[in-house]
């Protein structure tokens, strides 16, 4: 409803102003989340622009968040507010595809408990209330509260071959949450955040690309040698029974369930830093046996084998910071269980995703990013052919292929507060370049404009 937009914009500006005032009233150097209070460092020591890590930030995380002095109150808060606009928010039948379009939304409130426990153990956990998790029956949205991140580490510093070695154990609830480079699924900024509102979603997504977040428990060991080689082996299982706290807020009926606790995840990375430059070339992978029906962890399973190659290059100087991230993921899907149940048309499929991003940050204040995402996979009418042409009844597509370009402008009022304007343009949607819903909708009708405010203290 166009006449709502000016008021929403005014409300957004008022909220932005209020948050700016909060930020200005906060103590200048220390008004940053718990890790900054623990280390006494400014946010920019660990982050180029949060959540992207600098070499110092990576070292801090790999050392188990143990640098600095233990804080008396290791808490931090994050708030997100936004406005989202879809290029075409209604389908041909007049049905609204996204609630609260153009409305100011207070999206998410997160509370972090974060910090060192002692000189060998540290971690953080994030609990979040998401105001717009799902679409409600009244056309609005339904909120949701639960755990988001959990990352607990125990580390030991040793010497091996005359070089420094950090050995660590890690317990987490999302594979790649433990990673320190911004090219793996959880922390890659391609983009890191976007609209929170329920809206049309593309189908092609690998299991590692968010399919297991807040649903699993993983325990692993890692080694970081000579600040050059990183190796990790972890094993994952469903966060149920003893581990249910790590999936708090996720309904067991809708939880992707893994078989057993022996679903391995591994990571190998080569890292090099010289002067203002840093480069990482890496590989990550996971093999997971997942039950086809989320609510029924019995019977045969599908096997997902995810393999990824990733790279990151950063130039950190004053006043410019430049970074490049890229990842190429390939997922082999052995869908024997889904195929037997008729949910997939083929027992063997694959999915692959290419993601590239370039970012520039000036004076740690003004940022611009450009990203490209290309997901493509094998044909499967059972999985991807459910959308049919309204006139002919034929499937619109039987592929998951989706391609998009994302452009983002950032303004960091200070290291704790970011205003971002993000535009996502779709070139292809679920295998189709036209008529994506069978009623004449174009991929570009899903183009999304997102104005977001991010505030931490």
């Amino acid at each position: 409803m166009p006449n709502r937009h000016p008021h929403a914009l005014i409300r957004f500006c008022l909220m932005a102003w209020g948050l700016v005032m909060c930020a200005l009233l906060a103590a200048p150097a220390q008004a940053v989340p718990a890790f900054a209070r623990q280390t006494g460092e400014n946010c920019v020591a660990c982050h180029t622009a949060f959540p992207e890590l600098t070499p110092f930030g990576r070292e801090f995380k790999l050392n188990g968040y143990t640098w600095g002095e233990r804080a008396a109150v290791p808490l931090a808060v994050m708030m997100q507010a936004s406005l989202t606009q879809l290029a075409q928010s209604q389908d041909a039948g007049g049905r609204t595809l996204m609630p609260h379009e153009g409305d100011l939304q207070f999206d998410r409130l997160s509370v972090f408990a974060a910090g060192k426990i002692n000189d060998h153990v540290g971690g953080y956990t994030q609990w979040a209330y998401n105001n717009n998790r799902t679409m409600g029956q009244d056309g609005g949205t339904v909120g949701h509260a639960g755990i988001h991140d959990f990352d607990l580490r125990a580390i030991q510093r040793l010497r091996l071959g005359g070089k420094d070695l950090v050995l660590g154990f890690n317990l987490n609830n999302n594979p790649t949450l433990q990673d320190v480079w911004n090219s793996t699924p959880v922390w890659r900024g391609i983009p890191f955040t976007g609209s929170n509102l329920p809206r049309p979603q593309a189908m092609g997504s690998m299991l590692l690309d968010g399919g297991l977040g807040q649903k699993v428990v993983g325990l692993g060991a890692y080694a970081w040698w000579d600040r050059q080689w990183y190796g990790e082996l972890s094993t994952y299982g469903s966060a149920v029974n003893t581990w249910r706290v790590l999936s708090t807020g996720v309904s067991l009926d809708s939880m992707n369930r893994l078989r057993g606790y022996n679903n391995p995840y591994w990571r190998l990375a080569w890292n090099r830093e010289w002067g203002a430059h840093s480069l990482m070339l890496g590989h990550y992978g996971m093999v997971a046996d997942k039950y086809p029906n989320p609510g029924t962890p019995h019977g045969d399973t599908d096997r997902f084998t995810d393999l990824g190659l990733d790279a990151q290059y950063q130039v950190l100087s004053d006043p410019s910071i430049f970074s490049l991230q890229g990842s190429l993921g390939h997922e082999r899907q052995n869908l024997r269980a889904s195929f037997a149940r008729g949910a997939a048309s083929h027992p063997d499929n694959h999915l692959q995703a290419l993601r590239l991003k370039a970012s520039y940050l000036y004076e740690r204040t003004y940022g611009a990013s450009l990203a490209y995402v290309d997901v493509r996979g094998s044909r499967d009418a059972g999985l991807y052919g459910r959308v049919r042409d309204s006139a002919t009844g034929a499937p619109v597509s039987d592929r998951p292929d989706t391609r998009s370009l994302i452009a983002e402008l950032d303004y960091n009022l200070n290291p704790q507060m970011r205003l971002m304007l993000q535009y996502t343009g779709y070139l292809k949607w679920n295998g189709a370049t036209a008529n994506i819903d069978g009623r004449g909708r174009k991929p570009s009708d899903n183009n999304t404009l997102f104005l977001g405010l991010w505030f931490l203290f």
Partner: protein, 209 residues
């Protein structure tokens, strides 16, 4: 069985946590501290090509100690000091500050950076050399050589400048101009009259020493 393996692992993690307790374990000493923490910005052995952070290798021990203390008591208050060094210095004991200063002073200095190649750079290098050796008395700029030494090697509380990255040197001259270093009254007087071109020339000369 596999579930038990994961549970056992988590219990081991908890045990390590409990074993380590809440007592404060002494932090790593230099050079371990230097290798594990300082290296991320100042490079291995205190030698870096970063224009944002200085090389520390071969720097005067007295100067290093004075600066570390100035970070800790916040009397060195330029922006990057606040961002990066106030926090780190706050974790360190007196003994750790001293051991870091001793360690970096004993490291071989960074080699001289590329000398001027183009005719323009050669001219700038020559101007920088002249300024370093003779100053510009007419404008109240003393000869740098008088305090920093013939090879800009530094002495006591006067820092070594030779081989330091030109961008860092220029950044610090700007800091002195802004009076953001409590120990910088003398340098503020020297840096004040320098033109941007003179800062550029001087930094180019010094990084090639």
């Amino acid at each position: 069985m596999k579930k038990h393996f994961l549970t056992a692992g988590a219990m081991a993690l908890s045990l390590m946590w409990a074993q380590a307790g809440a007592q404060t374990v002494p932090g790593p000493e230099a050079p371990a501290l230097a290798r594990q923490v300082c290296v991320t910005c100042h490079g291995p052995g205190g030698r870096t090509d970063s224009g944002q952070f200085p090389s520390l290798a071969g720097q005067s021990e007295a100067y290093l100690l004075a600066q570390l203390k100035a970070y800790r008591d916040h009397s060195r208050a330029n922006l990057n000091a606040q961002r990066f060094m106030w926090g780190v210095a706050s974790w360190l004991s007196e003994a750790e500050l001293q051991s870091l200063a001793t360690y970096y002073a004993a490291q071989p200095p960074a080699p001289a950076r590329a000398a001027a190649r183009t005719p323009e750079q050669q001219a700038a290098y020559a101007r920088g050399q002249a300024l370093f050796q003779a100053g510009e008395p007419a404008r109240g700029v003393l000869a740098c050589v008088a305090c920093h030494g013939a090879q800009a090697q530094g002495l006591g509380a006067i820092p070594r400048l030779a081989g330091q990255n030109a961008r860092y040197l220029a950044q610090q001259l700007a800091v002195f101009k802004g009076h953001d270093r409590a120990d910088g009254a003398a340098m503020a007087a020297e840096a004040g009259p320098l033109t941007p071109e003179q800062v550029h020339d001087l930094a180019l000369y010094l990084q090639a020493l």
